[in-house]
Amino acid sequence: MPLIAKDARHRIAFTLNGEDVEGYAEPRMLLVDFLRHELGATGTHVGCEHGVCGACTIRVNGRAARACLMLAVQADGKTLDTVEGLAASDGALSPLQQAFHEKFALQCGFCTPGLLMSLGEVIERNPDPSEQDIRIAISGNICRCTGYQEIIDAALAAAAVLRGETPPSQNKD
């Protein structure tokens, strides 16, 4: 890629949730802004814009990454996955989304896309995580509603479902 001038908009093409997409961005445009404003993929949320809150977490070539700490130009040619790609085309929720729903793991929902994309990689790489594994894994995702316990319950339940087991009981009383 030759040098891109600061005021030039450059064509950027990548795979987003299995589909080829393209748009134009100046070098300084953040990937998260490109997703939202250029592509209209507003499922990925913008929080702190310096990598701390985790709301903008997406998958880049399979690995969870902060979309606020990447430039749009850096995504060129890569494979990206965002929260929009989790549910099936008929609207059926993924096991992780379903567990979030059942365990009440969200309230306002602002942090949820980042948590889903983070936990997706965690459970793929470690199909049988401990509660502590999940706590450490989501230490980079800030949620101000739930107090995290429901998110941890959901992650463990989703991992169990993906292992083919019956998830732990929903009853907590």
């Binding site: 300084r28 310096h50 985790g54 902060r66 700490l69 230490s139 980079g140």
Partner: protein
């Protein structure tokens, strides 16, 4: 919080990157994983005129054990070091320190050399490099040079890397036979910046302790045959010598207490590891 405008170059090879640095000098900034640089751009603490993005340079994406060192290229991520099959055997200290670096999402892109080049005072990798007595390779169009960790990090967020130079590789000494290593970090939450981070190496009667997060750069002391009260006295003197200050995260007194108490603990753990 959006970056100021800059030109962007994804060089085809190292030579093109070094050519650009040669011409642009301090107006250019090298970006590898961007996990420290991007926040600084977003907050406009830095406004370079050109970003040289080396993250996709495969020649720099390497981790290998050569000549008694683990040599890590500038594009190798912290995650790939953590997944390197030989890590636990070749460097127990790095293996123990790595999970403390940020979060797994930032380690997926953040690079080892980028952490060293950024040189945050509380950063784990500069502390490990200093404690192990490693070094870095700096390259420019004029040639390359190797700089010891103790000479590389000169001040808070400041290194000996010149404006036309790039940190192309880090060299961490491979674990010595019979030596024991241990790492500990005190932070409010997992993944936060360390209030104090400590790295210990014990070989026979020799105790080496590195401390990050107190002074402006990692500090390392080495003692011979100290035990009991004498070791406590040495740790206390070390804690005062570093001259830490109060900030929003902790008081200077609290930091000294961590150095005294957790210092004692990591040294004991390193000694246990050496005896195994």
């Amino acid at each position: 919080m959006k970056p100021a405008a800059f030109d962007y170059l994804r060089p085809a090879d190292l030579d093109e990157a070094l050519d650009t640095l040669h011409e642009a000098g301090s107006d250019a900034k090298v970006m590898a994983g961007g996990q420290s640089l991007m926040p600084m751009l977003n907050m406009r603490l830095l406004t370079p005129s050109v970003i040289v993005d080396i993250s996709d340079l495969e020649a720099l994406d390497r981790i290998e054990a050569v000549n008694g060192h683990i040599e890590i290229g500038a594009a190798a991520t912290q995650a790939s070091l953590g997944e390197w099959p030989e890590l636990a055997a070749k460097s127990p200290l790095l293996a123990e320190a790595l999970p403390n670096i940020g979060h797994f999402q930032t380690r997926n892109r953040g690079t080892v050399c980028g952490s060293l080049a950024h040189s945050d005072p509380s950063s784990e990798l500069p502390l490990c490099l200093a404690t192990l007595g490693g070094g870095v390779v700096l390259q420019s169009k004029a040639g390359s040079r190797t700089v010891a960790a103790s000479d590389f990090q000169t001040d808070m967020l400041t290194t000996d890397c010149g404006p036309q130079e790039m940190l192309v590789a880090a060299r961490f000494p491979v674990a010595e036979p019979g030596a024991g290593y241990a790492f500990a970090e005190i932070a409010r939450r997992h993944g936060d910046f360390a209030i104090v981070a400590l790295a210990a190496m014990v070989t026979g009667e020799t105790i080496r302790l590195g401390v990050g997060g107190v002074a402006d750069t990692p500090q390392v002391r080495e003692w011979q045959g100290l035990k009991g009260g004498a070791l406590d006295d040495a740790l206390n003197a070390f804690a005062w010598e570093m001259g830490g200050s109060d900030d929003v995260h902790a008081t200077a007194r609290y930091r000294r207490e961590i150095v005294r108490r957790i210092g004692r603990k990591v040294i004991a753990e390193a000694k246990d590891a050496a005896d195994r």
